[in-house]
Structure formats: structure tokens, C-alpha cells
């Protein structure tokens, strides 16, 4: 076990993937010389050369489309979009091209590309630099969507995403980049589509992903003081998501709360709830509740943003309500 920061884990995963497979390339704005706006690709141009770590002009649509074309032509591109808010500019490449190519060409070829992008608030970056838009991508057949919550899963999931034959939207959380965590020495790959149980508990299941996992864990600690034992499930992959693990947990606890930082309305949590309200209906002893962002753009002011983000207190309150 070694301690590693979340950002470093991503950097290491990129580096290891590039060393293992010469067809892996990085492409994006300021990913090469500057090593990435947040530093995720630091040192990789020096190590792997400017042919494999490519700075682009400020042309998101073309760089994402180029990743699709490169993936259809023998490379495994890892494209970076600096903020998830800018994925508004690459929707066609992702949704109409990458996601559909394998299916609509009859399975002739897959599109092994990864689009890395950071989401989330907490930095006072305002309405156009803080959004969590993962629900969009999870709704698109053909895309996979991943969102790690700690350094070990950031490493393991990114390796899996790059190795995956299909297009993966890999979402990092800006506020987690500096987080330190234990990482096993052999740096295991973590398969896409598998959730992790970070804390066991008999009374309620709390399902979360990304930074919200830590909100859930803090809430669980608070609840334990009241004698409520919460099980915390880290979803890790949003599409496909591990409904078996969630259902199994629900079947033990009979209560479910879903937590994420994205807007609640039409967000990822809605699908998890809807699915469990179907296949888990008979297990339910209380309403399934969501704790997520309200229906408003991410505000700039610290005070507004804090009220906006899901808090351990709101998670604990939701748990108490479903148990009541």
C-alpha cells in the first residue's frame, strides 16, 4: 500500500497505459506542454513524445471527432475536455458518432476511445465551470460512463476504460484531485460496471458516486452515533451500473437513499430509484429518497454553492426520513 493523490493516480494510469500499449495517445487543449490544465498529463509528453501527447487548438468538436476517427483507424485515443461544461461542444462526436459506430455499422469495428473530463463544484467556479452532466451520457446507448471516488479507483477504472473496446466517458471530480488515498502496490485494474461497498451496515443503503461518496461516508459516521448503521455503496460506474450489488444491499437493509452532486431532477439517481422501485419493490420498507443538487445552475457565491451541494446533514436527514 502506498499513499497517492487522486490526480497522481490518473497521471500514473495514463502513463502505465501508454507504456503498455503504443496505440494509446493523449489529445486535448494544453495536455502536452502544460501537462493538462489540472496537471493530469504532466510529464507524459516528455516521456512519450509529442506524437503521442498532442496539444490541440481550442477546437473541442474537432478534437473529439478526431478521437473517433483515430479510434476507428487503429489508435486508442484518450481525449481531455478541460471542464465537463465544455462537453456541450462535443455531443455530436460522442453521441452521434462514437456511441453509435459499432452498432450502426453492424459491429464491424468498435471505438476504443476515452473522453476524460472533470465535473463538479466547490471551487467557486460558477455556472459554466461546475456542472455534473453524466446523466446525459448514461442515457446514450453505446457509451460507458465512469466516475471514481478515490485514488485507487481512479487508477483502476482509468486503466479499464482505456483497455475497453468501447467509448468511455471518464469523469473526474475537480475537488478530489488533491485527495490522498491508499493504493495497493500492484495497482489493480478495476472492471467497469462493478460497484464497491465501502462500509457495511444493516439499516439503510446509501448509493453514491464520485465526490458524493465522501458525503455519504460522513453522513454514515454521523448516523452511527445515533445507532443507525448505513451501508455505503460506491457505484464507480454509472453506465453500465451494478444493479445487482445495489439490489443485494437494498435486500439487506430495505431502505435506500441515493446521493449525487448533479441536479436531482432527471439525474442519475432517478434511474437508480426507478429501477429499484421496479425490481426491488418488494424489498422496500420506506420511500426511496434522493439527495442531490436543486434545480438551479451552480451558483458562484461560496454561501450559495455550499447550500447547493449535497451535505452529510441532508443525507442523514434523508436516511432518518425513510426510516421513520
Amino acid at each position: 500500500m502506498a499513499e497517492m493523490r487522486y490526480l497522481r493516480a490518473i497521471n500514473q494510469a495514463l502513463s502505465d497505459a501508454m507504456a503498455a500499449d503504443p496505440s494509446v495517445i493523449l489529445i486535448g487543449e494544453d495536455v502536452a506542454e502544460a501537462g493538462g490544465a489540472f496537471g493530469a498529463s504532466r510529464g507524459l509528453r516528455e516521456r512519450f513524445g509529442a506524437e503521442r501527447v498532442i496539444d490541440t487548438p481550442i477546437s473541442e468538436a474537432a478534437l473529439a471527432g478526431a478521437a473517433v476517427g483515430a479510434a476507428l483507424s487503429g489508435l486508442r485515443p484518450v481525449a481531455e475536455i478541460m471542464f465537463m461544461d465544455f462537453t456541450t461542444l462535443v455531443m455530436d462526436a460522442l453521441v452521434n458518432q462514437a456511441a453509435k459506430a459499432r452498432f450502426m455499422f453492424g459491429g464491424q469495428r468498435s471505438v476504443p476511445m476515452v473522453l476524460r473530463t472533470p465535473h463538479g463544484g466547490g471551487l467557486g467556479a460558477g455556472p459554466q465551470h461546475s456542472q455534473c452532466l453524466e446523466a446525459w451520457f448514461a442515457h446514450v446507448p453505446g457509451l460507458k460512463v465512469v466516475c471514481p471516488s478515490d485514488p485507487a479507483s481512479a487508477y483502476g477504472l482509468l486503466r479499464a476504460a482505456i483497455a475497453d473496446p468501447d467509448p468511455v466517458v471518464f469523469i473526474e471530480h475537480k475537488a478530489l484531485y488533491a485527495m490522498k488515498g491508499e493504493v495497493p502496490d500492484d495497482l489493480p485494474v478495476i472492471p467497469l460496471g462493478q460497484a464497491g461497498i465501502l462500509r457495511e451496515g444493516r439499516d439503510v443503503s446509501i448509493v453514491a458516486y464520485g465526490a458524493a461518496v465522501h458525503t455519504a461516508l460522513t453522513a454514515a459516521t454521523q448516523l452511527a452515533e445515533e445507532g443507525i448503521e448505513a451501508e455505503v455503496v460506491d457505484l464507480r460506474s454509472i453506465q453500465p451500473w451494478d444493479e445487482a450489488t445495489v439490489l443485494a444491499s437494498l435486500s439487506r437493509t430495505h431502505h435506500l437513499v441515493v446521493v449525487h452532486e448533479a441536479v436531482e431532477a432527471f439525474g442519475v439517481g432517478a434511474e437508480i430509484v426507478a429501477r429499484m422501485a421496479d425490481i426491488g419493490f418488494d424489498e422496500l420498507d420506506g420511500p426511496i429518497l434522493r439527495v442531490a443538487a436543486p434545480f438551479m445552475p451552480v451558483p458562484f457565491s461560496k454561501g450559495l454553492e455550499t447550500a447547493y451541494l449535497p451535505s452529510p446533514e441532508r443525507v442523514a436527514a434523508a436516511v432518518r426520513r425513510t426510516l421513520a
Binding site: 476507428l72 459499432r102 459491429g107
Partner: protein, 341 residues
């Protein structure tokens, strides 16, 4: 950019005639396929909507004659000609248009998505302009993999207004990619002349990026082939080039378009620029007899009928197989099937 020094049309020897005859064969193949589809579409046998390349065959035939099987192309909504000239499986093509399981896309794509990766045909595209960045990435891959191949982006004059055009021209020039831009300028984007959509010429735009540009008669296959041979070689060794082919959209935007918005005189004049007529005339002038041409037509008609017959006999695609092919080799959860109904 220097001019091509040879031209099949200009040549007089045996070779020139043989080359032009090969191009003519490609023209006829595309034309007869499109005409066959037109009939079957009218009969309700082809579902969806289709955009025929009749009148534009010389661009496909001429450019593709200059490419190797390793070279890749990204195409448009009007992609049949590109696909056929690149050598895609004809059986797979008709089976796809007739939505069969034996179709190149297993009946999932149809006309706007015909593709044959085995011959470097990376797909027609329903999104105007989208092929540009796919070709850009393909060219990048060729260079990174050092495989000496080039990529070709086909697009219409209407696509010139898309933002992606600018992004891709800039990046291709910046990185000196082995990427050929082929504009099929037929003067129309759907129902509006592109002269009313564009404030610029492609020549003028090309000059901004310093990408060599040439505009040619896109309906004379000998001219297209000669320029393409020359330019493809340049792209392979030097970097991006633009080939603008002035051509004619004969059957309207989509099949069934009555083109009431078009000047009848303009429509009537189209036959003078018919790529098949032009090539046939040149062949006759070279001494190739009528019989040689009609042999080609007969042979191709038979080939097409065989493909149509095979397609008609082929099974329809199975829903479960399609469902299983959204991700690679994965048994994925099918929400509506499992817990649901």
C-alpha cells in the same frame, strides 16, 4: 501546387483508353446501383429516405482510383458513390439498403450509414460535416502508425458553413496531416442554393490556411482521376490538400424530391454534364467501340441483379442480436427485458 502532368483524357495510347474504361466501369456501377435503388424506393422496397449521387459519380470514381485499400475515407449522407467506388461489398450494400441481416451494417444503418471498414470506408454520415473530423482523426492515426496511408474527407458545399469545417481545416494545416478534403460542389444545400448560404468561396477559405486548393470539373472522370492521382501523391508526402469538384445534383436533395424550387432550364441542362455521357464520348473518340461500353453495362446490370436477388432472399435482422451488439462482446443489462416487460 503544380498541375498534373498526365491525364487519361489527354492520353491517346492504349493505356489511356484502358484507364478511362476502368473509370467508366466505376461510373456505370454507381449509376446503375443508384437507378436500381431509385426503382426499388419507388416500389416501397427500400425503407427510410435515400440521397442519390446521380450526376456526381465522377467524383467518387476519379478520387477512389487514386487511393489504396489502406487509405480511409469518411463520407456524407450522399455516400453511395463513395462507398461503391471504394470497393465495398456490393452484396452487403444492397442487403443493407434492404435492411437485411446480411447487410454491411446488419440492417441497422441503412443508406445514410453504409460502411465497409475492410476497404477503409469509415461510413456515410447522417450529420452534415461530421465526416470531416473522423477523417482528421483517421489521418492522425495513419501518421502516428506510420502506415503511409492517407485519409479523405468527402463533403458537400452546404457543409462548408459548419464550424467543424474551420476547425478541421485549421488542424489539418497546422499538423500537416495526410488528409485530402474533397468538396462535391453541386450548388445546393437541400432546397437553397449554396450561393445564398455562403459568403466565401472554398478557394478563398483554403488560402487562409495555406492549404493548396484546386477546383475542377467534377463531372469529367478523366479530369478528376488525373488531378486526384497527382494530389493524393502530394497529400501522402506533403500534407493536406483541397480538391473542389464542380458537379451536379440531378435527382434533388432526396429521392422523391420534385425540385419545384429549381429552374426547369437548369434542370434540363444537366444532361449535358452527365458524367457517363462525357466519359462515353471520350471513349468513343478514343476509338473504343459501343459494344465495349454496353458489355460493361450488361455485366454490371447482372452483377447488381445478383446482389439484389441475394438481398431479397436474405433474412431480416434479429432484435436480440442487435441488442447484444451495442457494446463489444458484452452481455449487457436489457432494462426493458429483465425486471420489466
Amino acid at each position: 501546387m503544380s498541375e498534373p502532368t498526365t491525364s487519361a483524357a489527354a492520353g491517346t495510347g492504349h493505356n489511356a483508353a484502358a484507364e478511362l474504361l476502368a473509370l467508366y466501369r466505376s461510373l456505370v456501377l454507381i449509376r446503375r446501383c443508384e437507378e436500381r435503388l431509385s426503382t426499388m424506393f419507388a416500389d416501397g422496397e427500400v425503407p427510410g429516405f435515400i440521397h442519390l449521387s446521380i450526376g456526381q459519380e465522377a467524383v467518387s470514381a476519379g478520387v477512389m482510383a487514386a487511393l489504396t485499400p489502406e487509405d480511409t475515407i469518411a463520407s456524407t449522407h450522399r455516400g453511395h458513390g463513395h462507398a461503391i467506388a471504394k470497393g465495398l461489398s456490393l452484396d452487403g450494400f444492397f442487403a443493407e439498403l434492404l435492411a437485411r441481416d446480411t447487410g454491411l451494417c446488419r440492417g441497422r444503418g441503412g443508406s445514410m450509414h453504409v460502411a465497409d471498414m475492410s476497404v477503409g470506408m469509415l461510413g456515410a454520415n447522417g450529420i452534415v460535416g461530421a465526416g470531416l473530423s473522423i477523417a482528421l482523426g483517421s489521418a492522425l492515426a495513419h501518421r502516428t502508425l506510420k502506415n503511409d496511408a492517407i485519409a479523405v474527407a468527402f463533403f458537400g458545399d452546404g457543409a462548408l458553413a459548419e464550424g467543424l469545417m474551420h476547425e478541421c481545416l485549421n488542424m489539418a494545416a497546422l499538423w500537416k496531416l495526410p488528409l485530402l478534403f474533397v468538396c462535391e460542389n453541386n450548388g445546393w444545400g437541400e432546397f437553397l442554393p449554396t450561393s445564398r448560404q455562403l459568403s466565401f468561396s472554398l478557394e478563398g477559405l483554403a488560402a487562409a490556411y495555406g492549404i493548396p486548393h484546386v477546383a475542377i470539373d467534377g463531372n469529367d472522370v478523366a479530369v478528376v482521376a488525373a488531378h486526384a492521382a497527382h494530389i493524393v501523391a502530394e497529400v501522402r508526402s506533403e500534407g493536406p490538400r483541397i480538391l473542389e469538384c464542380l458537379t451536379t445534383r440531378v435527382r434533388g436533395h432526396f429521392e422523391g424530391d420534385a425540385q419545384k424550387y429549381r429552374d426547369p432550364d437548369e434542370l434540363a441542362a444537366l444532361s449535358e454534364r452527365d458524367p457517363l455521357g462525357i466519359a462515353a464520348g471520350q471513349l468513343t473518340a478514343m476509338g473504343v467501340g459501343e459494344a465495349a461500353l454496353s458489355d460493361i453495362t450488361t455485366e454490371i446490370a447482372a452483377r447488381i441483379e445478383a446482389a439484389v436477388a441475394a438481398a431479397r432472399a436474405a433474412p431480416a435482422p434479429l432484435f436480440e442480436a442487435a441488442m447484444a451488439d451495442v457494446y463489444t462482446g458484452a452481455q449487457i443489462r436489457q432494462p426493458a427485458r429483465q425486471g420489466g416487460v
